[in-house]
């Protein structure tokens, strides 16, 4: 039997009895770049956090490579939203990347020369090697995002979750992220990315998860990214986006 990188069964998250994510069922194939899209407040980040056990799920089961997530944490890498931490923390870029190694180091052990080398290599892959010793508050937003990506690389996982990595970054960082996603795919990794920009969806992702509290559709991008599905997820809202949305819809129709 094939082991899927991620199987989610009947995942439900509720805040104050109001369901935010309703009975999501997902099975993702290995080695694909998977975009999670949907309107604001559709529960994209919440679903991610519930999968990772960072917010309590009201119901549901998450299996990673065939076993419960709790037993497979070392196979999973996570890039949280940039705004989730205090960037004035007294530490430098390399040190943040080294945090990706903590899970493998075990208790009481400190990162050694080998971990340092690996962390430097991860910084290099996101084009940040020159900033290794820079205090993190002195990095631009995009550079901070790349440090987070490098930290996830240092985890050396097989399944990655990224929460809005493209939000508010400069063009150089966007490019760096895209090439990194490509490199991860080449190495057979599966990457799940919460994304907000419909215009780039077709370009970036092989698979799509379309979410609006409940799962609207999921599957290969060309099958899911249709005008019909988008209307189902975004409703009338999509037309409010104006010309850009019209282009997206047109592109979706062509597909």
């Amino acid at each position: 039997m094939a082991e899927y990188p991620l199987e989610v069964r009947d995942l439900t998250v509720a805040y104050h009895r109001k369901p935010v994510v309703q009975s999501v069922n997902l099975t993702l194939p290995e080695g694909q770049l998977v975009g999670v899209v949907g309107p604001n407040g559709a529960g994209k980040s919440t679903m991610l956090k519930a999968i990772l056990g960072l917010v309590p799920a009201a119901a549901g089961e998450v299996r990673v490579f065939g076993r419960p997530y709790a037993a497979q944490r070392s196979l999973v890498g996570y890039v949280p939203q940039r705004g989730s931490v205090d960037w004035d923390f007294p530490t430098d870029a390399l040190d943040v990347v080294l945090m990706g190694r903590y899970g493998r180091l075990g208790w009481f052990r400190r990162p050694g020369a080998k971990d340092r080398e690996l962390a430097m290599e991860c910084l290099r892959q996101v084009g940040m090697a020159d900033f290794a010793n820079r205090q993190i508050s002195q990095l631009s937003g995009g550079q901070q995002q790349r440090v987070f990506l490098a930290r996830a690389l240092a985890q050396d996982a097989r399944l990655y979750f990224m929460d809005e990595p493209f939000a508010g970054v400069d063009a150089a960082t966007e490019k760096a992220i895209v090439s990194l996603l490509g490199a991860l795919k080449e190495r057979g990794k599966t990457v799940v990315v919460v994304h907000h920009d419909l215009q780039t969806v077709k370009e970036y992702f092989d698979w799509l998860v379309l979410l609006n509290m409940r799962l609207i559709a999921f599957g290969p991008t060309e099958e899911v990214f249709t005008a019909e599905n988008l209307q189902k997820a975004y409703g009338g809202r999509l037309t409010q986006f104006g010309a850009g949305a019209a282009a997206v819809l047109a592109a979706a129709k062509e597909a």
Binding site: K49, L52, G53, L54, A70, R73, S74, V76, G77, Y78, P80, S84, V85, D86, F89, P90, T91, D92, D95, V96, M99, Y102, G103, L105, W107, F108, R110, P111, G127, M128, A129, D130, F131, Q135, Q138, S140, Q143, R151, Q155, D170, A171, A172, T173, E174, K175, A176, S179
Partner: protein, 429 residues
């Protein structure tokens, strides 16, 4: 004044100083994490909550024994933290309100118990009120031995769990994703903070103990950008404040040590605030003034260059009025400074022209500026390489591409230093 107490040979003074330094050391070290975890006020709540614990320990045993007091304070503090987390979890009250609530209720109970104890017959209870503002002089050898053991335990725990606590303070969500038990680590950190508070109670008192968690840590943050260094520095600052405050308190009779220790820590903080390199206020002011001056000069030099470029003559005389009208440059200060530096020479009253050195410098500045502009226009296509936005220089890897783009846009500065020598030669001929 009797200075005999300064003699270190005096065993009692030695104990007291050691105790005060140890409390400063542990609260400084733990305070660093409390501060970065945004738990500074937790220390305040813990300290105030400890008072009823101390009183109940005395009421139950009838003896004044620091070990027992510590147990009482620790239990009460633990109840306080549990109350805070229960309130935040099961009601809509936010953490800061819950902290205030628990702090005041526990402290109120403590004061009430203290009053009851004061009115009890017998003389054994005197000195318990010293827990309010601290009395280091009351420390005896066995107290200090206990404090040493706890302080050593705290430092060892922080040393062993340094990376876990760092992750907890920086990004607990990521830590949980790694599979580290962040909830347990958070509880452990709270427990260690509680112990650091508790061993300081005797010397600093419940009212001001929170300051010993916060102040040395905040002061240490000014001197370094590394957590390890910050933790060690905060410990040292705390220890020094403890010792200094205790020494000061012995200058007068019956002075409470708590306020003096806290004042000593505040002094360390003020020195850090003003004089720390880089983050200190003085260093920042100097840096700001320097930058301001440099920017004013470079702007003025670029303006003179670009006006001369418009005139097509590197030796054109540019008047202050024209600079003000066309480039918004007011005041001749920057221009005079440039003239003193040999970049400009006066052409007429209130007018300047570029010297050969000034032309070379201005050409470089203008070109650099335009390369940046071109870079920003084409950032999307050029991206991928890391760009240091704080750096004054255009990224070296992109320079060749940018220079080509600069020419394509027709933005190459027209007056190159070489063309100036041509002109000069032409004039001479």
């Amino acid at each position: 004044m009797d200075l005999s107490w300064l003699s270190v040979a005096d065993a009692n003074t030695r104990w007291v100083l050691t105790g005060a330094s140890l409390l400063g050391l542990s609260s400084g070290v733990l305070g660093s994490f409390a501060l970065l975890r945004r738990r500074s006020l937790m220390g305040d709540a813990l300290a105030h909550a400890a008072l009823p614990g101390v009183c109940i320990a005395f009421l139950l045993t009838g003896t004044k024994n620091l070990g027992l007091f510590l147990v009482g304070a620790a239990v009460a503090g633990l109840l306080g933290t549990m109350a805070i987390s229960a309130i935040t979890r099961y009601s809509k009250i936010k953490e800061d309100s819950a902290l205030g609530l628990v702090l005041t209720v526990f402290f109120g109970i403590g004061i009430m118990l203290l009053t009851v104890i004061q009115r009890m017959p017998g003389g054994n209870q005197s000195g318990l009120d010293k827990f309010l503002f601290g009395q280091a002089a009351a420390l005896v050898g066995s107290d200090v031995q206990l404090m040493t053991a706890i302080a050593a335990g705290l430092c060892l725990a922080v040393f062993l769990l340094f990376k876990e606590f760092k992750l907890l303070a920086f990004d607990p969500g990521f830590g949980a994703g790694l599979g580290l038990p962040m909830g347990i680590l958070d509880l452990l950190l709270n427990l260690l903070i509680l112990l650091a508070v508790v061993i300081g109670l005797q010397s600093v008192g419940v009212v001001l103990m929170a300051a010993m968690l916060i102040t040395p840590a905040v002061a240490a943050r000014y001197w370094t950008d590394r957590l390890a260094t910050m933790t060690v520095l905060a410990g040292l600052f705390g220890a020094a404040s403890g010792a200094l405050g205790t020494l000061l308190s012995q200058l007068g009779p019956r002075m409470p040590t708590g306020p003096l220790i806290v004042l000593a820590a505040t002094m360390v903080f003020l020195v850090s605030l003003f004089f720390a390199p880089r983050r200190g206020l003085v260093a920042r002011l100097v840096r700001f003034l320097r930058l301001k001056r440099q920017v004013a000069r470079e702007t003025a030099l670029r303006a003179v260059y670009e006006l001369a470029e418009g005139a097509g003559d590197p030796g054109a005389a540019i008047g202050l009025e024209e600079l003000r009208r066309r480039r918004g440059i007011t005041g001749g200060g920057a221009l005079e400074a440039l003239a003193r530096a040999g970049a400009l020479s006066p052409a007429a009253p209130g007018a300047w022209r570029l010297t050969a050195a000034g032309l070379a410098e201005a050409h470089r500045l203008v070109r650099e500026q335009r390369l940046w502009e071109v870079f920003l226009m084409h950032e999307g296509e050029l991206g991928g390489a890391a760009v240091d936005r704080d750096g004054a220089l255009v990224p070296a890897a992109l320079r060749a591409d940018l220079e080509r783009l600069l020419r394509l846009h027709g933005l190459e500065p027209a007056l190159s230093p070489r063309s100036a020598t041509h002109t000069a030669r032409g004039e001479g001929a």
